[in-house]
């Protein structure tokens, strides 16, 4: 990268004129907001850890009974590939590869996100079937809240992708849309980052 970055995420670069400058403020602001979000997740992680003991589980099912290595691995793969796919969205925007290509890559991201959600929801249903509903114990409450909140973020990311596709269709790839795509990119990668924490601390450590 020859240019210095003005904001988090793949920068549009000087080739995009005003959009690049506007992105500096907007994407930075969004990044600040995500830092606030990060604290929310951080506190939920800490709570999860503090409920992760026999008292917090209150005789209900524990990690050994509920978690499924394979499914977590599949979900991780979906998100990781989804993150890489968004790299292609950013590159397609940056190098003016046209609306079609941007929309196609966006759809791929949405599909991968949906794949992730499918397996996550399937897990939730299986766990509920095994008696692992959030109403059973403090630990399960914190588990469902933390992982569920991440899932809700992914879902909103997918909805946001569709909103962006609608904007690309109606407005075209104007400056504002480019800035918003940069924001969406930061959001999408941020979700990967949180997921790294989740699969490591929520799933792998208790199973280890």
């Amino acid at each position: 990268m020859s240019e210095t970055n003005l904001y988090p995420g793949l920068n549009l670069g000087d080739g995009h004129g005003e959009a690049h400058d506007q992105a500096e403020t907007t994407v930075f602001g969004f990044w600040v907001f995500l830092m606030s979000d990060l604290i929310i997740f951080g506190i939920l992680f800490a709570s999860y850890a503090s409920y992760l003991d026999p008292i917090g589980m209150a005789g209900g099912p524990g990690p050994q009974d509920l978690f499924d290595f394979k499914s977590v691995a599949i979900q991780t793969a979906f998100l990781l590939v989804g993150g890489a796919a968004y790299g292609d969205v950013s590159l397609a925007v940056k190098y003016d590869q046209g609306r079609g290509k941007v929309a196609a890559w966006l759809l791929l991201c949405a599909a991968l996100g949906a794949g992730f959600l499918f397996f996550e929801v399937k897990d939730f249903i299986t766990q509920a079937g095994k008696g692992g509903t959030p109403q059973v114990s403090g630990w399960l409450s914190s588990y469902w809240t933390l992982v569920g909140l991440h899932g809700v973020h992914v879902l909103s990311g997918i909805l946001w992708i569709f909103a962006m596709i609608a904007q690309i269709a109606t407005r075209g790839l104007d400056g504002v849309v480019k800035v918003r795509l940069s924001m969406l990119g930061v959001f999408w990668h941020f979700l990967d980052l949180i997921w790294v924490g989740i699969f490591s601390l929520v799933f792998l450590v208790p199973l280890a």
């Binding site: 930075f28 602001g29 604290i39 709570s47 209900g60 959030p134 114990s137 904007q167």
Partner: protein, 701 residues
């Protein structure tokens, strides 16, 4: 409340108003409750009639509610805060009146003006309102108004988002207000600790009102913090390096950082409590692995930084006024910056001192106790800096200086009682007593309230073009100082005598003399409130005599004083190039500061939009529906929010362009006006000769 939930009206029915209680049983408590509801209804009716009669609906909508101008948004925040302040002070007075009549006997233990449950609602709403809907909107409003002007920015970084934040804060306030009329508020204090506030012990809508008011307005505050931070990082005028920013901007930056990092904790604790209440989760319940101590932990992770969120803007105001009204440069700028930033960071490491007695080991307690004492150091540095600023200055005893002096005397006492409480072994003796109540009122009233009122007095002419009456301003300030002393000093004594806080009744007659003194203090506070209202009214009536179109009534030294009063919506005809700290003062030293810019250009302003109103409407629907379990409305409102955002995102939104010619005309008129006024000396500051153009030869700041 009805036993089963109706699909259309949820838990709402005709039995939820205080009038039903009054009909069931007429006593002083139900009369107070129905009276408060009537004040709300009559106030709202009066407002509607007045707006209709004066044909103000249109202007209100066009010029205010849909405006994305940070200055107007700031003024609206402050207006909201003052309305809520009136309710908060009146509630405080009712509580004092209650406790002054609450001496029970062993035979008849309950006594006093209001019923115990009603009293619990009073202290819960009082705390919630004063913290979240008075102090927060006051400081956020003041920062909104002042920050862009001091930074040399046109507006906030995200003007429309700013409007949304205001809307969300107003929704929170509205939910608390409407609980006067429809249903009851929670009785768990402003912190709403579970398990008492869990579903088992607090069924009904009370806690839910608190939860949704907090969740919705908390979202607004988080967004505001982000907006402030980005504005300070990215929208400063050219040449405005960090170390050239006025101190108020520095404290705003601290506030922004703390809002960003502290509000999430409140969101999490409230959301967890909401999940416990609505979905039967077990975060804080007694059974099934719940741990109510985690609530205290997370809540105060927000709660302590919040204290400094409240106090730091006041510190910023005191930095500005101590310098301006002493005609001296601020002493120890760098140390004040460092102290503010240290407070911002250290404030995140002390939260456990709010629950020393919860049962953790002595080692944990003392770690946080020491951190708490350390935070007193930067605060002390600041007090000395302001005193050194005033030392040998030519001080004009204006209303803000009366507030500042009151702050010096009282805040130090409050701070010292805080250091006493920071010692866990002492805290074990006096915790949960009125000693604590006295302590936090002793820092928050002289700190936040005096600071914000001083700030309002100081910047009022910038907003409306005329000064506030100094005479009434000083009277108000003296009443607030006296009212504070009489109300809260007795509470220190009562606390040491062993009186628990939040007592609806007590049987110790020794308390009574102090109760009467405190009640007298409550009367003084009511007088102060009336005097504050009168200050605004009488100043408004004398606005011609008090007008300061020159825009610099106090011979100030920061950028905002370079513009006319009232300040035009574009603030600066051209974005200034800053060359020094206190740039306006530097211009004054250099000679003619009111030079016109070389050329005028078109100015882009954010276009008016109803976006904030729509989001606020949907959020109110969501909050109210969730409180009353009206599920269809909740789902509808919840879906409406992203829909409103997405629909707006589809459109191309053009900024409003103010033509260069219009700016030039207004600016030239202002400069001619300035040239035509005779400069006012310090001695003339309070007289009609002060037209906002100070005598530059006297400038020494």
């Amino acid at each position: 409340m009805s036993q089963q939930t109706s699909p259309i009206f949820g838990n709402l029915d005709w039995s939820v108003t205080p009038y039903t209680d009054l009909l069931r049983d007429v006593n002083s408590s139900t009369i107070v409750g129905a009276g408060a509801a009537s004040v709300l209804v009559l106030g709202a009716l009066f407002g509607i009639v007045l707006l209709t009669w004066m044909r103000w609906w249109g202007p209100l909508y066009r010029n205010w509610l849909t405006s994305a101008d940070a200055k107007k948004i700031g003024i609206m925040y402050i207006a909201l805060a003052l309305v809520m302040l009136a309710r908060g002070i009146i509630e405080g007075f009712v509580m004092r009146a209650h406790q002054a009549t609450a001496l029970g006997t062993l035979a008849q233990q309950e006594s006093g003006l209001v019923a115990p449950d009603h009293f619990a609602q009073l202290f819960s709403t009082h705390g919630t309102i004063m913290i979240f809907f008075v102090a927060m909107p006051l400081l956020i409003g003041l920062i909104n108004f002042v920050l862009p002007q001091q930074l040399g920015a046109r507006d906030m970084a995200f003007p429309v988002l700013n409007q949304v934040s205001l809307g969300l804060t107003a929704v929170g306030a509205a939910l608390v207000m409407i609980s006067l009329l429809i249903g009851k508020f929670g009785t768990g204090g402003w912190t709403m600790y579970p398990p008492y506030t869990g579903l088992d012990f607090s069924p009904g809508e009370g806690v839910d009102y608190w939860l949704w008011a907090i969740l919705i307005s908390g979202m607004g505050s988080t967004l505001t913090g982000m907006n402030f931070a980005v504005t300070i990082f990215k929208s400063r005028a050219p040449g405005m390096h960090f170390m050239r920013m006025p101190l108020f901007c520095w404290t705003s930056l601290c506030v922004a950082i703390m809002l960003i990092y502290a509000m999430p904790a409140l969101t999490v604790s409230s959301a967890m409590l909401a999940l416990d209440r609505y979905a039967d989760f077990h975060f804080f319940t007694n059974d099934a692995g719940g741990n109510m101590m985690n609530y205290a932990n997370i809540f105060w992770m927000f709660g302590h930084p919040e204290v400094y969120i409240l106090i730091l803007p006041a510190f910023g105001v005191f930095s500005e006024i101590s310098s301006t009204y002493s005609g001296k440069r601020l002493y120890g700028y760098t140390s004040l910056v460092i102290a503010s930033m240290s407070i911002a960071v250290i404030s995140f490491t002390v939260w456990l001192h709010h629950f020393f007695t919860m049962g953790q080991s002595a080692g944990v307690n003392i770690a946080f106790g020491i951190a708490t004492m350390i935070i007193g150091i930067p605060t002390g540095v600041k007090i000395y800096d302001w005193m050194a600023t005033m030392w040998r200055g030519r001080i004009r005893v204006t209303a803000p200086i009366v507030y500042l002096t009151g702050f010096f005397l009282l805040f130090v006492i409050g701070g010292l009682s805080g250091i006493i409480l920071a010692n866990p072994s002492i805290d074990y003796q006096v915790h949960n007593s009125t000693f604590l109540v006295a302590h936090f009122h002793n820092v928050i009233i002289p700190g936040v309230l005096y600071g914000m009122l001083a700030g309002i007095h100081y910047w009022f002419p910038k907003a409306f073009g005329f000064r506030l009456s100094e005479r009434w301003g000083r009277r108000t300030a003296f009443l607030f100082v006296g009212g504070f002393v009489f109300t809260f000093m007795p509470l220190y004594v009562l606390g040491l005598m062993g009186m628990p806080r939040r007592s609806p009744t007590f049987q110790n007659p020794d308390f009574m003399p102090w109760m009467y003194i405190a009640a007298f203090g409550g009367v003084l506070m009511l007088c102060a409130l009336a005097s504050l209202a009168w200050t605004f009214w009488t100043s408004y009536r004398n606005r011609d005599a008090l007008a300061v179109p020159g825009g610099d009534p106090w011979n100030g030294s920061t950028l905002e004083w370079s513009t006319p009063a009232p300040v035009p919506e574009w603030t600066f005809p051209r974005i200034p190039h800053v060359t020094a700290r206190d740039d306006w003062g530097e211009c004054k030293r250099a000679g003619d500061p009111w030079r016109a810019p070389d050329e005028y250009r078109d100015i882009e302003m954010p276009a008016n939009t109803a976006h904030g109103l729509l989001i606020a409407g949907a959020s109110f629907g969501l909050g109210f529906a969730m409180v009353w379990h009206i599920w269809w409305l909740a789902v509808l409102s919840f879906l409406a929010i992203p829909a409103i955002v997405a629909l707006r995102a589809m459109r191309v939104i053009e900024p409003r362009i103010v033509k260069a010619a219009e700016v030039e005309l207004a600016d030239r008129r202002f400069r001619q006006q300035v040239a035509s006024f005779a400069p006012a000396t310090r001695a003339d500051e309070e007289t009609e000769r002060n037209r906002g153009v100070p005598d530059l030869s006297e400038f020494a700041g």
